[in-house]
């Protein structure tokens, strides 16, 4: 069988799925949590609780501010001790609701049993409202509010719903475990989203290195028509939204365009699980599966973690941060973000905590470009990182725009493949920000 894949560029980093045999464990509820109001793309939510308020699990503590925003719920029951700006994972100061945990009392109406509810009740509008109220966001890392993606503009018609189960980042196994252990919930979540969108074709795309997940999902979809599980080639960035659409439908998202222009809506597999919980169990997004991994850790874990759990508590459970660790990454090694502050807490988009040693992550000195062209061959967007590096260092933004720097998806293929160890993506990122500024200021005129 020929596996599907995107058609331009890509790299093959070593997969290092160290935690793939670790079953999902419930992480103990911490004594204190701090829940960020900026866990989704767009405007941070507005806190609706005050110091001293009693909250229950699943109670709304933040409401959307504007259109692209989302609800935030309490992940624990207890007393609000502070509503204040704190440093989040990336070190950015954002509003957090801090809660001292007392017991584990759920808000009314939330079903906490594991029984699988197969009957999907309600009109598409009602389902969409439930998803919105549950604060579901894209859980692959981009954290775009799911309800907005599920409500495309009236003039655009969705034909495909693609469930992104590629998990192409090395190390990360959270989605893999979720698929193996909860395939029915994921399939039902996909069916709910298909009903909301009114699409007939649902494709669940799994990379070939997860055969157990593929089999589990295939069994779970046997009883339904119009929902396919397909195997994807192991290649990074297979799970990039644009790459996935290209691989499945051979359609290309135009420059600066939205995926819906190709008739596709892509949702992450963990998002699908969250949608099931939101609709069938009335349970908002208060916890997620998170991989805790790294060669230097004594144990590899996949935890079901309440949102707002401090990173330090999670690391302590595997024996604390090892002496030889140099970097803690939230997400995978290709696109994840380095954690600046171990007191920071987990968010809806935190799929993985990866601890790397200096040898694994040290940046070696940059040498000169020998124009080997590896970056160009690796770029999945068909760009020329070597050229953008040169133009970027010279500040030639007009030429950068001509060479479509705005198409860069920041996947890191170029930099990770460069034999001269040039920080290509650093240069491209900063230059791209400048070019976008210029484009926006021109649009205003």
């Amino acid at each position: 069988m020929k596996y599907r894949t995107f058609r331009i560029g890509g790299v093959h980093p070593a997969e290092r799925k160290l935690a793939k045999d670790a079953a999902i464990e419930q992480f103990p509820i911490p004594a204190k949590v701090a829940i960020s109001m900026a866990q989704h793309l767009g405007a941070p939510a507005t806190p609706v609780v005050e110091k001293g308020d009693k909250v229950k699990v699943g109670q709304v503590i933040g409401t959307p501010t504007g259109f692209v925003s989302g609800f935030v719920h309490s992940s624990v029951s207890g007393t609000v001790t502070a509503v204040e700006p704190r440093a989040d994972l990336a070190g950015k100061m954002v509003m957090h609701v801090c809660i001292d945990v007392e017991g584990d009392e759920y808000a009314d109406g939330i079903v906490t049993t594991d029984r699988i509810e197969r009957d999907i009740k309600g009109s598409p509008e009602e389902l969409l409202e439930k998803i919105k109220k549950a604060g579901v966001v894209g859980m692959g890392g981009a954290t775009f509010p799911t309800h907005i993606k599920l409500a495309p503009p009236k003039d655009k018609k969705a034909e495909y719903l693609i469930i992104n189960a590629a998990e192409c980042e090395p190390y990360v196994t959270a989605d893999d475990r979720l698929m193996r252990e909860h395939p029915h919930e994921i399939v039902l979540g996909a069916r709910i989203m298909a009903r909301v969108l009114g699409v007939e074709m649902v494709v669940i795309a799994v990379e070939e290195n997860k055969p157990e997940a593929f089999d589990a999902l295939s069994d779970a979809t046997l009883r339904y028509v119009g929902i396919d599980v397909v195997k994807m080639k192991k290649k990074y960035p297979q799970g990039g939204e644009k790459q996935l659409i290209d691989a499945i439908t051979h359609r290309r998202v135009p420059s600066g365009g939205l995926p819906i222009e190709t008739g596709c809506v892509v949702q992450n597999v963990a998002t699908s699980y969250a949608v099931y919980q939101a609709v069938q169990k009335d349970k908002p997004l208060i916890e997620r599966v998170m991989t805790v991994t790294g060669e230097c850790l004594p144990e590899q874990k996949n935890y079901l973690v309440r949102i707002g759990t401090p990173i330090s508590a999670i690391l302590d459970s595997v024996g604390g941060l090892p002496m030889e660790s140099a970097k803690v990454i939230s997400g995978g090694p290709m696109m994840g973000k380095a954690v600046a502050n171990l007191q920071a807490t987990t968010q809806k988009g935190s799929s993985c905590l990866l601890v790397l040693t200096p040898e694994q992550t040290a940046r070696t000195p940059e040498t000169v470009c020998i124009r080997c062209g590896r970056c160009t061959q690796a770029c999945p967007m068909g760009l020329e990182p070597w050229l953008m590096n040169r133009l970027g260092r010279n500040g030639d933004y007009a030429s950068l725009e001509e060479n479509k720097i705005y198409d860069c998806i920041e996947c890191g293929c170029c930099q990770s493949t460069c034999p001269a160890h040039i920080p290509l993506l650093d240069i491209v990122r900063t230059s791209k920000a400048e070019v976008m500024k210029i484009i926006r200021s021109r649009a205003k005129k």
Partner: protein, 325 residues
């Protein structure tokens, strides 16, 4: 607790460095170099040592005293030295190797800014520099005795014999037959020529190694060799008396050495697949035209040098296939 590093993604780097890639090129050159030493003996070894030492020394002095830094990648310099040595006649005097190395590194590489900046392949430049400066030394093919108990081929190279013969009005196929210039001879390594042209087989082993280690993509060599085969087949079918055939052309002279090791030099070849193919075809066409119609018997070096000059243009106009139209 030690301080955590906070830096943007990606968080790991390829272990393959420029040094590793250039070491791989040296390993790929090893079979051809060893075969040439076996055939041509001490003088070939002397040429090799003079070339490598002069290249490294020249680059070291310029980098150190004019730019105040170390040689960025010493293996790349050694590759230039080895390639230049393989491009010399086996009986060439040592000072030819010395002057050629100075031209290769001093003029072709360092004048343009050193590693990664040169427009022309330094080794090819060195060879052409010698060819036009010291034509006699560069076309004297009396081969010294090697370390094998057989006599290596001495006398003019097959291509030179053909070039000379045709000028005297002899039919090409007869010259080939008369002088026993079969393709097989060149393949295993008994034809005359430059040091590195001794054995096609050894060069092909190096090519396979480069492909397996993914040091180079096959596009450039395949485009060059394919073009030469197609063009020479057409000419040969039209008039076998005047033009030599494809097998002979493929295996003789510096074609394999040039196509595999010289035209694929990263710095002086295009970045995109399309650019690589156009570049390869251009080298192939120029090589055949020079061999058939030029006054020099061998054309690969000139062809590569001319193609090097249009690489910036190819990089500018042959953009990779963009994802989004």
């Amino acid at each position: 607790m030690a301080k955590l590093i906070v830096s943007p993604s990606p968080h790991f780097q390829n272990k393959t460095t420029t040094q590793v890639l250039m070491n791989d090129v040296l390993i790929a050159l090893a079979p051809a170099t060893l075969v040439s030493l076996l055939f041509y003996g001490w003088n070939a070894l002397l040429l090799l040592l003079v070339c490598v030492a002069t290249c490294v020394g020249c680059e070291f002095l310029i980098e150190k005293y004019l730019r105040g830094r170390d040689i960025p990648c010493i293996s790349a310099t050694v590759v230039t030295g080895v390639l230049l040595a393989l491009n010399l006649p086996p009986a060439a005097p040592w000072w030819v190797a010395f002057v050629g190395s100075l031209a290769a590194i001093g003029i072709a590489k360092m004048c343009f800014g050193g590693l990664g900046q040169n427009i022309f392949n330094p080794a090819i430049f060195g060879r052409v520099f010698l060819l036009v400066s010291f034509p006699v030394a560069m076309t004297t093919w009396s081969a010294p005795h090697g370390w094998l108990p057989i006599d290596a081929f001495s006398g003019a190279t097959p291509l030179a014999q053909i070039n000379e013969g045709i000028r005297q009005g002899l039919p090409a196929n007869e010259i080939v037959a008369e002088n026993g210039l079969s393709g097989w001879q060149a393949f295993f390594g008994l034809a005359g020529g430059s040091v590195g042209e001794a054995s096609a087989l050894a060069l092909i082993i190096g090519f396979v190694y480069l492909l397996v280690r993914r040091v180079i993509k096959p596009y450039i060599p395949v485009a060059i060799l394919g073009t030469v085969v197609v063009m020479t087949t057409i000419f040969w079918l039209v008039d076998p008396e005047k033009y030599t055939g494809p097998v002979f052309n493929l295996l003789s002279g510096g074609l394999l050495l040039g196509a595999i090791f010289m035209a694929t030099d990263y710095v002086t070849s295009p970045m995109t697949t399309m650019g690589m193919i156009i570049y390869g075809v251009l080298i192939g066409v120029l090589t055949v035209l020079i061999r058939y119609f030029g006054s020099y018997p061998e054309g690969v070096s000139f062809a590569i040098l001319i193609a090097n000059a249009i690489v910036p243009l190819l990089n500018k106009y042959c953009k990779p296939k963009r994802f989004a139209a």
